[in-house]
Amino acid sequence: MSMGAALSSSRGVHTSRRTHDVPQPSAAGTSAAAAQGPAGQSMDAQEVAKFEAMASEWWDPDGPNGALHTMNPLRTQFARDAICLAHGREARTVQPLRDLSVLDVGCGGGLFSEALARLGADVTGVDTSATAISVAATHAQADPAVASRTHYQNATAEQLQQQGAHFDAVVASEVIEHVSNVPEFCASLVALTRPGGSIVVSTINRTNRSYAVAIVGAEQIMGLLPKGTHQWERFITPEELQEHIERAGAERIGDSGMVMNPFTGHWTFSADKAVNYIMSFRKPAEQQRNP
């Protein structure tokens, strides 16, 4: 039914335009809508409410996040290969990410986090939606093997950065298009990565086709997503993404388009990056950590 993950991402991770001089550890004292996420977000109340409502359907493959379910194995494979490459591991083995720490920025209900945890990683998932975090934590509880390797926090990437956290790999999937300050967000991703670690970002390109698929198709014609879920102007081209991340100090390793067959719902890697794409980066080992 759905036309691609271009229409299904409803991640609620947002960076602030403000500086992070005074990070707020909790949402206490903020407005009702903003109270659903930690301080530091720049999303308006209506948007937050939209994402909160959708968060309860994260794990329904027939729900609004259906395309994320079908895309999940593909992005997991890409991330697995990229992380294994950076850490010199054999990818097609049992739990190839064993003992590696991975940060999933904008984890939503935990689809990506759980898959990475099953591959052996110790995953920290952060999201600005309190409901999503609660859904993710509850879902993980069903299987002790997943629960023991996933840790969810209602936080932003910037807040983790302030805490001085570092990870062997950082992933941000279907998130960056909702972020208000992309350069700052990219800098956080790189800062949160240990030297020698990898960064994987997937998002939607800003092309005529992505406008047709994500905005006109998904929101206006099909009504699969609430209007305004995506703002096309905020979509980022692969060139822009590469530039932002490289400026923050990591180098591009590889990328791929991801295309969904609208009839079968099956996703495949493709040279076509006009709508959905995924890109991996590596933070040089010799680079000094941020103090």
Binding site: S56, E57, W59, D60, P61, D62, H69, T70, N72, P73, T76, Q77, R80, R92, T93, V94, Q95, E114, A115, L116, A117, R118, L119, V135, T138, H139, A142, D143, P144, A145, H266
Partner: protein, 460 residues
């Protein structure tokens, strides 16, 4: 030995076959795959999971009412009555799982030819392995031999598979099809298998391999469709006048009769017929029964090669061997014939395999091969899940990578066998001669023949 049990490793403890396991500590843990039923298909799944480095990391449990049989029929003794035809695809599965050596000849018999012909008409079709460039078309093995070989292999793999017996399934708790956050319902809670002993086992995936009357299927509330052929199959072990290297199948007015080579010069008869005729045949002495088989195989008119068809592409009809009662063999026995299919093979954290999912007419010896093909598909699906971090009990995975491809395949085989059976239903005159013509044309067309043969051999 018993006093030492608490000091033994998990594998040793649980693999003490034939007695209930009382150590609760060993059962507290979660299994990745809990296989209900340690029959041919269930054991094959456990063995096959140990074949790939990806699925070898899974924790597998096989539970059954009865201990895992480890003993083959001794060579030299007459073979058991129940045999299976193993396609090259099934043989490959067993080889890879490390279980083929104990089923290979002399424990089983290869066949190089397959011949199908009609009692009334002139039509026949004969296949040879050489036509397809293969050394054999398949093997016939006693079910007991297959079972014992798989059992022996499983016993060698206690590093990753546990066996629990006697274990009787009493309850099955599976997660909901879809989550409902408001109601606090999740679709990924672990499956719980409750046993009559009061023990509970948690698993990420439960596999129902408990046969046509699957209790697992029943508890999972999966509906079936079925119909009876109003026929019974009679099985018998016989001797042949000369060595047999052909799977013979003749369509009689009352149903098909198959003569398959087993081992040590024995052959197996599978005769599908009316209920009344079956009762008569079952009551005969083995000598009288052999006489009836010979009349059925050699009576009527023997087909000749159709002169209209090109010589090069058609193989000549071969007369079937005369059979004799086998000394020391069990007397013939009959069983009801039916077709059964489960509407769905999967639910969240559940998959049905083998006869629990589908039962076909024993016409082409395909029944158990469909089960082994289920095994192959499910192992591939689980390997994919392990590799991509998917939950092995996830409905979407089971649907797309196991149920959908297998249901298509099984349905076409069920339709084909059922259709073939119906074509050869008791009748004569025009339809019988058309049937003869059809077989002739198949025999004359090398392309068509090869296709059908490959299909029957599981390599299509």
């Amino acid at each position: 030995m018993k006093g030492m049990l608490p000091h033994l490793s998990r594998g040793q403890l649980l693999c003490s076959y034939g007695r209930s396991l009382s150590s609760a500590a060993a059962l507290d843990s979660i299994y990745d795959v809990a296989i209900i039923g340690g029959g041919m298909v269930g054991s094959a799944l456990a063995c096959a999971l140990g074949r790939s480095p990806l699925t070898e990391g899974l924790r597998v449990l096989v539970l059954d009412r009865a201990p895992l049989p480890e003993v083959s029929t001794p060579l030299g003794e007459a073979p058991e009555l129940r045999v299976s035809t193993l396609t090259p695809a099934s043989v490959r599965l067993f080889s890879e799982a490390g279980a083929w050596d104990d089923m290979a000849p002399p424990r089983s018999a290869p066949f190089q030819h397959m011949q199908v012909w009609d009692f009334g008409g002139n039509g026949f079709v004969r296949y040879s392995a050489a036509t397809a460039g293969l050394p054999v078309m398949g093997y016939v093995a006693e079910n007991r031999v297959i079972q014992a070989a798989l059992g022996k292999r499983l016993k060698q793999r206690t590093d990753f598979v546990d066996f629990m017996s006697p274990a009787v399934l009493q309850s099955l708790t599976l997660p909901a099809y879809a989550p409902d956050i408001q109601a606090g319902v999740q679709s990924n809670t672990l499956a719980e298998v409750g046993l009559e002993s009061g023990q509970t086992i948690k698993a990420r995936l439960v596999v129902g391999a408990d046969g046509a009357r699957s209790r697992t299927r029943q508890l999972a509330d999966l509906r079936t469709f079925s119909w009876s052929y109003h026929q019974r199959g009679i099985v018998a072990t016989v001797r042949t006048e000369r060595p047999n290297d052909t799977a013979w199948q003749r369509f009689l007015g009352t149903g098909p009769l198959a003569l398959l080579p087993v081992r040590d010069g024995y052959s197996n008869v599978v005769w599908s017929t009316s209920v009344a005729e079956a009762a008569r045949l079952e009551a005969l002495t083995p000598q009288e029964f052999a006489l009836n088989v010979n009349q059925a195989l050699q009576g009527g008119s023997m087909p000749a090669r159709n002169p209209m068809l090109p010589r090069a592409s058609s193989e000549d009809f071969a007369p079937p061997p005369t059979v004799f009662a086998a000394e020391g063999a069990k007397t013939q026995q009959s069983f009801p014939l039916a077709l059964l299919g489960s509407g769905r093979y999967v639910r969240p954290r559940l998959a049905l395999i083998g006869d629990a999912a589908h039962v076909v007419h024993p016409l082409a010896g395909q029944g158990v091969n469909l089960g082994f093909a289920d095994v192959q598909q499910l192992v591939d699906a689980l390997a994919h899940a392990v590799e991509t971090g998917r939950d092995i009990g996830e409905l979407g995975l089971l649907q797309d990578m196991y149920e959908s491809p297998r249901q298509q395949e099984n349905a076409s085989m069920m339709t084909a066998l059922d259709g073939l059976k119906r074509v050869f239903e008791p009748q004569d005159g025009l339809l019988a001669s058309l049937r003869g013509l059809g077989l002739d044309m198949i025999n004359g067309s090398s392309v068509m023949k090869r296709q059908i043969m490959k299909y029957a051999m599981g390599i299509a």
